[in-house]
């Protein structure tokens, strides 16, 4: 996805003299071609995330379409006040692009895990929040959003899915509609595991790349079903909750640091976000809420 980000902005920069890249000493070699072509619009500024955001806001104040990019937790956890005040409160437009989503850097331990960004950034007035899941989404949504008047967050991962989705900003994708009593809702790269888990389960499946604004219209269509939110971060559950009075369940992160190493797949497996774990969670909800099961439960309880 990072390579797609590079390809897209390099192509855009050829037509847009206002496009500027600000890096926090990450992805620098990847941007070598951009650097050589547009040296005045490329800044590997340093390992100083707060200032990267402030400078991006300052560039935005003067009409530049700037992208600031580095590792997710450092830019969004450390830089939250700069994002809130220098970008959002000042209403200076800009684009924040991170890599290192959730457990992408599993082997580096919990200092490099990222799971608060989507939920926290959603709360900032004016902010657009995107958890991109595929290369096609990276290309389409950067193009559609990067030079609007907003502050836009794009979360990239090294583990994209390759599933065809609706590429329109603010729109979800209905991947499966079985008229089932359970609807699985998910976002971002974990979709690959969710699809595998739910392939032959009688559940509906809805996917989002845009967490703010969330596609309320699509969610409303499944109001009368039990909604299982499967997500490897915080933020999607809260976004879906904007639609009032839904019956929701969350299958995702524990309230604990996931202090193991290995790969993203190892950690997903340990916390039940591998296909088998997701399937178990979905099946359990199905078992509780299929009409036949409800009847049996009433009989068994003696009521």
């Amino acid at each position: 996805m990072r390579a797609q980000f590079r390809n897209t902005v390099t192509e855009l920069a050829a037509q847009d003299e206002k496009l500027v890249i600000v890096l926090g000493d990450i992805s620098v070699y990847m941007f070598k071609d951009f650097w050589e072509r547009y040296p005045k619009r490329f800044y590997n500024m340093g390992i100083c995330e707060n200032t990267l955001i402030s400078v991006t806001a300052g560039l935005g104040s003067q009409g530049y379409h700037s992208f600031v990019h580095t590792i997710c937790p450092f830019l969004t956890d450390r830089g939250i006040e700069q994002i809130k005040l220098d970008m959002c409160y000042n209403n200076f437009a800009g684009n924040i692009v991170t890599c290192g989503a959730t457990f992408d850097y599993a082997w580096d331990g919990a200092t490099h895990h990222a799971y608060t960004d989507l939920a926290v950034l959603r709360m900032l007035p004016g902010m657009e929040v995107l958890q991109l899941g595929s290369k096609r989404e990276v290309d389409a949504l950067i193009r559609s959003q990067y030079k609007n008047a907003h502050q836009t967050y794009y979360r990239l991962s090294d583990h994209p899915h390759a599933i065809e989705t609706n590429l329109e900003f603010g729109k979800g994708t209905l991947l499966k509609n079985e008229g089932a009593p359970v609807t699985v809702m998910t976002a971002g790269p974990i979709l690959a595991n969710v699809m595998e888990a739910c392939r032959d389960l009688p559940v509906n499946l809805v996917y989002f790349h845009t967490l703010k604004p969330i596609d309320k219209e699509l969610i409303e269509r499944f109001r009368d079903t039990k909604i299982l939110v499967v997500h490897d971060a915080h933020g999607l559950y809260e976004a879906i909750s904007e639609v009032p009075a839904l019956q929701m369940h969350y299958h995702g992160l524990p309230d604990a640091f996931c202090g193991w190493y290995g790969t993203v797949h190892d950690i997903r497996k340990r916390i039940g976000l591998d296909p088998a774990g997701i399937r178990t969670a979905a099946q359990a909800l199905l078992d509780r809420h299929t009409p036949a099961q409800r009847k049996l439960t009433r009989t068994g309880s003696g009521s």
Partner: protein, 260 residues
């Protein structure tokens, strides 16, 4: 004291008295710095969005009352408007909002933010190949924040010779985390530094236009509450306090007598 600076200080006192708000001593310490900046920068109070204007960012946003009165003195709006300071519907909050007040380029309040914004604005001016200058006023207390030094490192590395930092050296952190020899520190971070009497208008103006090939930092040695002995001798008591009627008369008397 220059008559314009005396007028601004008297308005600060009156607005604070009327509104019940304001950080008076810190506003007093920057009056000459503000007047010097607006004397040398390209700006048009009747056209605050003039495309080729220079830009000033007040990073220590709690000195907003001094800032508003200085802008009023320049003609951005009438002094009368500032008397709504801190009121519910006022444009003039206790920290400045760029979307409400003509001449305010950045909304500030949390310390250590304005200087980073100013670095980005100065970089934008460089990318655009303009001669626009970017001024920012930071506090010595504010410079306890690490972001000040991050921003300075970045500005020096980018050789932003269009960035001028005014450092209000009013010893606000003498009881906490003082920064001795600030000029040496900014020089060590790659800036051209000059130290002046922060209440000498002409000296500040001269320092602001001194040519440089890197970011400039003008260390302005100031006195919190300059102009009123009651304030400068009791800075902690008066840090954020509005004068009562009898106190206003006393402070105005001291100001007009030229007492320090």
């Amino acid at each position: 004291m220059h008559p314009l600076c005396q007028k601004i200080r008297s308005e600060i006192l009156r607005v604070s008295h009327k509104s019940g708000h304001g950080h008076i001593p810190t506003s007093f310490s920057i009056v000459e710095m503000l007047c010097a900046v607006y004397a040398v920068m390209r700006h048009d109070p009747k056209n605050p969005d003039m495309p080729d204007r220079d830009i000033f960012v007040l990073s220590k946003g709690h000195a907003s009352l001094g800032f508003y009165c200085a802008l009023a003195a320049q003609g951005y709006f009438d002094f009368d408007e500032v008397y709504s300071f801190g009121a519910f519907d006022s444009k003039f909050g206790c920290h400045p909002d760029r979307t409400k007040v003509p001449g305010v380029e950045a909304s500030t309040g949390s310390l250590g933010h304005g200087i980073g914004l100013a670095v980005g604005i100065a970089l934008a001016a460089k990318i655009a190949d303009t001669s626009r200058q970017v001024y920012t006023l930071i506090g010595d207390g504010e410079s306890n924040e690490g972001t000040v030094w991050e921003a300075i490192m970045v500005a020096a590395n980018l050789k932003l010779d269009n960035l001028i930092v005014l450092y209000d050296n009013n010893n606000s952190q003498s009881r906490c985390l003082p920064i001795p020899n600030p000029g040496e520190r900014f020089a060590a971070f790659g800036c051209q530094t000059v130290e002046v009497d922060g209440h000498n208008l002409e000296a500040i103006k001269k320092a602001l236009v001194k040519p440089a090939d890197r970011p400039r930092v003008v260390i302005c040695n100031t006195v919190k509450g300059y102009g009123c002995a009651t304030l400068s001798n009791n800075v902690y008591e008066w840090h954020r306090r509005a004068p009562k009627p009898e106190e206003l008369d006393k402070l105005l008397g001291e100001l007009h007598a030229g007492a320090i």
